[in-house]
Subunit: 111 residues, 2 copies
């Protein structure tokens, strides 16, 4: 039998989606407002088939929503899952701050 990995959680797909530079570029572009597929593809020098796949990944992760208008497809940010990811990371920001504080305190006493 195959090793039966656990089903991917929300954080899994969100982080995986953000691991690709093209997809992060799409998200960054989408922060300026909605865009069609070609509007996204052109400045990234990405082919339309490639972008279609990336969009599917982002949509699967819940990071973008799309709406067909005529023969164009408008994509827009739905940043909610980013907040989950940010929340996960925020805990480690706090951890790191503690460590930094401990280090500076140590250096203060041991110059």
């Amino acid at each position: 039998m195959s090793p039966a990995r656990p089903a991917p959680t929300g954080l899994d797909v969100v982080f995986a989606a953000l691991a690709d530079p093209t997809r992060r570029a799409v998200v960054e572009r989408l922060r300026l407002g909605p865009a069609t597929m070609t509007e996204l593809a052109t400045p990234l020098a990405a082919s339309l088939p490639a972008l279609t796949k990336h969009l599917a990944v982002l949509q699967q992760a819940g990071l973008v929503a799309t709406a067909k208008k005529g023969r164009q497809r408008y994509c827009m940010l739905t940043a909610a899952p980013l907040r989950d990811a940010a929340a996960w990371l925020a805990e480690y920001g706090a951890y790191w701050d503690e460590r930094l504080d401990a280090l500076t305190a140590y250096l203060k006493e041991n110059p």
Copy 2:
């Protein structure tokens, strides 16, 4: 010639490292303090060869540092790259907050 993808950046490898639940579990465990490989592997029900690979990914991403002591290998968090990732996400947190504010303001005026 192969399509020549761009070399992975810091954010690439950090997000990719965090996309795996086993690796996130390692990071979470490491928040409680340093641990050896077997101490990490046992509660995760992961084999040592598998964990060695995961550790390499985390180390590559700069998330974990290790030190050999005798025949044991102590692993500890070096959360600095998490801050970069958190900073990237924080901008979208702000974006999302703006949108939420805009939505609540809209609902206030159009009840």
